[in-house]
Symmetry: C2
Amino acid sequence: MKQSMTLIPTLREVPADAEIKSHQLLLRAGYMRQNSSGVYSFMPLGKKVLQKVEAIVREEMDNAGAVELLMPALQQAEFWQESGRWYTYGPELMRLKDRNNREFALGATHEEVITSLIRDEVKSYKRLPLTLYQIQTKFRDEKRPRFGLLRGREFIMKDAYSFHASQESLDEVYNRLYQAYSNVFARCGLNFRAVIADSGAMGGKDTHEFMVLSDIGEDTIAYSDSSDYAANVEMAPVITRYEKSEEAEAALEKVHTPGQKSIEEVSAFLDTDATKCIKTLLFQVDDKQVVVLVRGDHEVNDIKLKNYYNASVVELAEPEATKEVLGCAIGSLGPIGVSDGIEVIADAAVEAIVNGVTGANEEDYHYINVNPGRDFTVTAYVDLRFIQEGDLSPDGNGTIQFAKGIEVGHVFKLGTRYSEAMNAVYLDENGRTQPMIMGCYGIGVSRTVAAIAEQFNDEKGLVWPGNIAPYQVHLIPVNMKDETQATVGEELYSELKAAGFDVLMDDRQERAGVKFADSDLIGLPIRVTVGKKAAEGILEVKIRKSGEVVEVNRSELAAKIRELLG
Amino acid sequence: MKQSMTLIPTLREVPADAEIKSHQLLLRAGYMRQNSSGVYSFMPLGKKVLQKVEAIVREEMDNAGAVELLMPALQQAEFWQESGRWYTYGPELMRLKDRNNREFALGATHEEVITSLIRDEVKSYKRLPLTLYQIQTKFRDEKRPRFGLLRGREFIMKDAYSFHASQESLDEVYNRLYQAYSNVFARCGLNFRAVIADSGAMGGKDTHEFMVLSDIGEDTIAYSDSSDYAANVEMAPVITRYEKSEEAEAALEKVHTPGQKSIEEVSAFLDTDATKCIKTLLFQVDDKQVVVLVRGDHEVNDIKLKNYYNASVVELAEPEATKEVLGCAIGSLGPIGVSDGIEVIADAAVEAIVNGVTGANEEDYHYINVNPGRDFTVTAYVDLRFIQEGDLSPDGNGTIQFAKGIEVGHVFKLGTRYSEAMNAVYLDENGRTQPMIMGCYGIGVSRTVAAIAEQFNDEKGLVWPGNIAPYQVHLIPVNMKDETQATVGEELYSELKAAGFDVLMDDRQERAGVKFADSDLIGLPIRVTVGKKAAEGILEVKIRKSGEVVEVNRSELAAKIRELLG
């Protein structure tokens, strides 16, 4: 492609509102333009990168035995009403009416459409399992679109759905797609982790998020420094065995702690350590109230609390409710003397505390020398806290580190959530009607493009991996008015294309400085400069990644490029 | 692909509401399913055909120098308000509001979006011309969606837009894309014509429709039986030179014609020919009234009338207005004695009439021996009628035939319609601001799939051309329970794939009759049957198109298939 024929609108300035590298560079290098908030046009270079990523996704999905189809964006409301999500999805689901006043959703995801399709077409276990996917534009009216392609309102997604007659079949396809996803992100050159994620009450084994490690990520990942264990920080279990100290139990004592409320204040005031404090909180767990205890240096993980109680909703109780139940406001709460009707549950670390500190349920008073079991009763000691950096890795290998991640993929065992709601059933081998067991699997394709841009750049611009770059070679005749350079440029353009390379030629009448700066910004792996030595048959080859420059004889150019691209 | 892995939901019955072959067969052969009126899912086979057609379109567009990009479906209302189409497009444009109550259109076409993009990025003649295209889902809320993919509400389109600094540059790109479109439809195997179409007052040279010839087409094409001339029937000029007969002019005479109103009635009653009658009609042309005359066997073409007067609106006058101006109702109208203020215009054929017949502007009376010029005055004799079968072709070669057509493509010289409305300007070589000159070019990609299905089928099902078929070879082990057949089937599946063929294998445990009927319905070019002779290394090869069956030795199978696919 010649630059005179295409549109690569590079920018010198960093666009306002573009906070992160990928957003800035994809705009500056002319890969995309914003139309409205969270809605973008992929300019020619951006479209090419998108196609490269799509091709990788398609190849890996096909290899994993998934079959491509294409469902519509216009989805009749009836489907979403059947699943119930018409009422629960909220304003993120874009809705419209047709000329006959029938309601539609713009596809944010396709569980409803595909479940309806499969229930109409598949009636017998003989036609299962089935794994179908599409690469398609999705619409979600994000409250705060930001970070360019990372959180947009119109974006490209690969979504797949599988249908099964047994849990084992689902497990098998899940594992196959897990591997396919690992292949996709590895081929994109990304530094990523497959992370155990929240799947609600089903437990952590049934869903993984694929996270690209990045400081600008919105999710925190807890990973082992010595194994491939990684989980969303909310999901990582704590397996630490807490040792009780040998210290003898002292007598319980109420002390005046005027104005001391936080763990830091109280432990400093009493000259003790946060690890000796028992943090006390009242939670509303569905329709019951529960006193929850964790060690002073720990935080309650409400997903663990929710899973323990198999609850729908878990939240911190309102201040008035806390005062009513415990007789005091937050800052002096404690488990001692809590009325019999209120359950007290504690994180496992609390059990090991000897002569601890806790609030006295009386403003400005705390107890010291508190000993669980002796001074108050606990229903159960279980894992209720967030994992922390330095904790033992849940798989027993190494210690936990934290990292931020950008979610680019998600595999999820749906079970019968949609098939039951929408009556997608089949006849099993015994002629009995069964709901299909489902899985769903997503890759944010345009988001993956942004994640690659976020990981592959330097101060001069983008630095694409060779298999993702829109073109492999940037051919730059320095001075198009110089007849030799222009001629050699044209000849090399034809020769390199004939040799099978994707070539972008800068045939613009621009200054050398402009051309080189644009070239670095655009970030193709290899730059071939046709300069003054072109007359002698010598060209300059620059490797974008290392900045290394070598002179190459024209006769050896193709071989050199092939070698450099690996 | 093995059929056990994919979903090809064939139907034995013709689905209700599917009136035409392509709609029926694409449903019956499991290529697509309807979601809601005019909205379809492309099932795995349909998606593959779509991809084949898309690949052809992409290749030809790239060869023609167009560059691919991807614009969003969500288009802010402001763009459409600037162009004015927000107010004129009507209910076909689907509209919605986002969570902040901002209005959006769902992309029905992208003139506004691309014009806005280019006006922001291109400021100088040096960056022109530019030709950009995308292959994308479009939304149009058709009043009466029908014929499956032929008139849907969500469909796939290739749309291209070009921007120029001169008319010559537009002409050049227009011609290049015209050729690219011809290549696309020829490669799809379609029997099509590039047809001169209506471009309003600009004249017929600036827009062509690509029409696939088909009885179910909604447009009528006038084409030459001896050249490549073809035009939308409304657009074809009549170049016949009418010879005046030698007959002597007789005296004008008013005759009683009780109850005789139509040309047929009057000519029969007076024992003359329709070609001797002068049909008289009153038209409202913008704000003036015009008497229009055509020969009795001809029909007024109001587009020609409109173009002659360069008018905005042309329609037949209301009955009351006709009575007021000519003193009589339709059935006895005529040009004799029309008051001076009313212009009389006639089709060229009228000038040659000698001793003709026309109404007397008096109920139940006609004149005979009417002679134009002698008995009434005509402002001008021009081409005002529809061309007819048997007319001389407008290019002077051959005679005109009619055919019905399905519009699959359209190339159009837009001029400055959008660039002026949306202020897309550039600086020319002299530093003057000029509006960009634009062209737009569309191909209905999903409609092309339907058009191919409409042209390639027989009573048993679809009969795809080899380069469009979802797979090239349908491999059918007749009895999967027969160990030899199943083994040979598996081996051939691997071998043929390794030899580079796209293979679909029917590995279902179904009866032979079901497999063969499905195979004919699906319509792959080559069927390879693994039957009882498989044990001896003999396979049956059937050519779907001709129905011809040959036995082939296993060792020669790949070569035979290659030969048959051409």
